[in-house]
């Protein structure tokens, strides 16, 4: 069983080495003539104003939170799906209730306006 993850480990090393080699090769082969204009921020020729790391809208944060809720619930659903063929009536009722609660949560978020993008 652990052998499987040895393969994943080896592949992860190679998957990291491959792009690194390409980038390093490009760095070696390409010319290196930086000048102050070239390395300045590119905004289609317009001088950049102020700090880049400014505050953005909180909507992105809200989407992140809703995603987190749903993703955790999905992680609960996968083990249930694996064992579904062996589930008893009680298990089935519990699972269905779980999904229904998920749906109701979604509609609550909808009603509260958390899903509106403005």
């Amino acid at each position: 069983m652990l052998n499987n993850y040895a393969f994943v480990l080896i592949l992860s090393v190679l998957a990291f080495v491959l792009p690194t080699t390409a980038v390093v090769l490009g760095w070696i082969l390409g010319p290196k003539r930086p000048d102050p204009i070239k390395v300045s921020t590119y905004e289609s020729g317009v001088e950049t104003i102020g700090d880049t790391w400014v505050q953005f809208k909180a909507q992105y944060y809200l989407i992140g939170l809703i995603f987190l809720i749903f993703d955790v619930e999905v992680i609960f659903l996968f083990p249930i799906a694996l064992a579904y063929q062996q589930l008893t009536l009680f298990g089935v009722v519990a699972t269905v209730t779980f999904v229904v609660i998920l749906l109701m949560g979604l509609f609550l978020e909808w009603r509260k306006g958390a899903l509106e993008w403005q």
């Binding site: 052998n3 499987n4 040895a6 393969f7 994943v8 080896i10 592949l11 992860s12 090393v13 190679l14 998957a15 990291f16 491959l18 792009p19 390409a22 980038v23 090769l25 490009g26 760095w27 390409g30 290196k32 003539r33 930086p34 102050p36 390395v39 300045s40 921020t41 590119y42 905004e43 289609s44 880049t52 953005f56 909507q59 992105y60 989407i63 992140g64 809703i66 995603f67 749903f70 993703d71 999905v74 992680i75 659903l77 996968f78 799906a81 694996l82 579904y84 063929q85 089935v92 699972t95 269905v96 999904v99 998920l102 749906l103 979604l106 509609f107 909808w110 899903l115 993008w117 403005q118």
Partner: protein, 408 residues
């Protein structure tokens, strides 16, 4: 059953190597083959994309280098190799350098659990589907890292958009992946593909696709895959007219090529996952007698899905960001949750298996019909309520009618 790793390590052990070394060499060779598939495949994919899109736009596409211009992509790759690697002065060096590497890393890792033929799979993890879900997050992280570290407002904005889009579409995609897992009762990719056999008079024609049982789930997966691979109807993150290029504005040379590679490979692999989960993977006629045929079937299906993706890309206009988010959260997520609900109930009905499958299929059609009907009414009502659908949401209610002037 043909299993490459067992066969190769057995062969090496017969040569007199100890078991650990034999296994290590086997895994290294397998991983090397898988990792080097990526760049070669990307060249093919870029060529296909150019040809398909130019065909749609009534052009010829690349046709100078070699027959049908097949060496054009390779020449472009060499050109990118000789480009200067410009790093913005105020960039965050570590995150800026790591982002393109991570993008490729996440994509190549997903190759590990894709079955090319029966037993010809990197490693048949018992959490295969979950592993793919987990890897999806690496791409999101690399996009955010690139956007944040570039020290460019457009890149940062695009980075935020990437996160919002990919997170939103990840939910329907993952839930759609639950459909085949429920049917098969396993998360092993090879087992899911092996499940989709169809025997007629004892002969496996290999067309028992789960897409025939749960077509709506396959459709939802395809739409989410388009969004996840940042293809045209959902390519807001590189909307040229608004964001210049997206989160990789400040990248040049080989680092830019890495993002490009990751994007092309990602759309292909999402297609490959879709083929495995919904369209039988390596299943096809005579695959029991000659397992290696599975590779041919699998690649044909994958490239077919890829061409359809490019077809969509060449045909559809880009959607607006609020439409895109609404579509994910208000249409796809309720739809896929109801589909799962029905599938769970139907698979526990006390009737023979084939009647269960038929009821799942009928339920799929009915649920899609009902949900789209109800939501269609709701959205039409919403449009009527706001009266002028083309008016930006932020201006609704603030516009006053022009004051009537007396005596006019």
């Amino acid at each position: 059953m043909l299993n490459w790793s067992a066969a190769l390590s057995q062969f090496l052990m017969n040569l007199g190597l100890p078991q650990e070394v034999a296994l290590g060499i086997t895994f290294f060779i397998g991983a090397l083959v898988l990792a080097s598939i990526g760049p070669v495949l990307a060249l093919v994919l870029i060529h296909i994309t150019r040809k398909v899109i130019s065909r749609i736009q009534d052009r010829l596409g690349p046709n100078r280098l070699g027959p049908w211009g097949i060496f054009q992509s390779a020449a472009d790759a060499v050109k990118l190799l000789s480009k200067e690697d410009i790093r913005p002065a105020e960039a965050d060096v570590i995150a800026y350098t790591m982002a393109p590497l991570l993008a490729v890393f996440g994509v190549i890792m997903s190759l590990a659990v894709i079955p090319f033929a029966n037993g010809l799979i990197g490693v048949d993890l018992n959490v295969g589907v979950l592993y793919l879900v987990a890897l999806g997050s690496i791409g999101i992280m690399s996009a955010l890292m690139a956007g944040w570290s570039s020290n460019n407002k457009y890149a940062l904005l695009a980075g935020f958009r990437v996160v919002a889009q990919l997170l939103s579409y990840e939910i329907p995609m993952v839930l759609a992946m639950l459909g085949p897992v429920l049917l098969v009762g396993s998360m092993r990719m090879n087992q899911i593909a092996a499940f989709q056999r169809l025997e007629i008079a004892g002969f496996n024609i290999g067309a028992g696709y789960t897409a025939f049982i749960i077509p709506a789930m396959a459709m939802i997966f395809f739409i989410s895959a388009l969004a996840e691979s940042e293809q045209t109807p959902f390519d807001l993150l590189e909307a040229e007219s608004e964001l210049i290029a997206g989160f990789h504005i400040e990248y040049s040379g080989m680092k830019f090529a890495m993002f490009f590679l990751a994007q092309f490979l990602n759309s292909f692999f999402l297609g490959a996952i879709m083929v495995t989960l919904f369209f039988g993977g390596w299943q096809g006629p005579f695959v029991d007698q000659l397992p290696i045929l599975g590779v041919v079937y699998f690649l044909i299906k994958c490239f077919a899905v890829y061409v359809v993706m490019q077809w969509v890309r060449g045909t559809f206009p880009r959607v607006r960001i609020d439409q895109m988010m609404d579509f994910a959260w208000k249409v796809l997520v309720p739809l896929v949750l109801l589909l799962i609900l029905w599938q769970m109930v139907a698979l526990k009905l006390p009737v023979p298996t084939w009647i269960q499958y038929v009821s799942v299929f009928v339920g799929n059609i009915v649920v899609v019909g009902i949900v789209l009907g109800v939501l269609g009414r709701y959205f039409r009502g919403e449009q009527l309520r706001t009266k002028r659908a083309f008016e930006p949401k932020s201006l609704i209610g603030t516009m006053q009618p022009a004051p009537e002037t007396a005596g006019d």
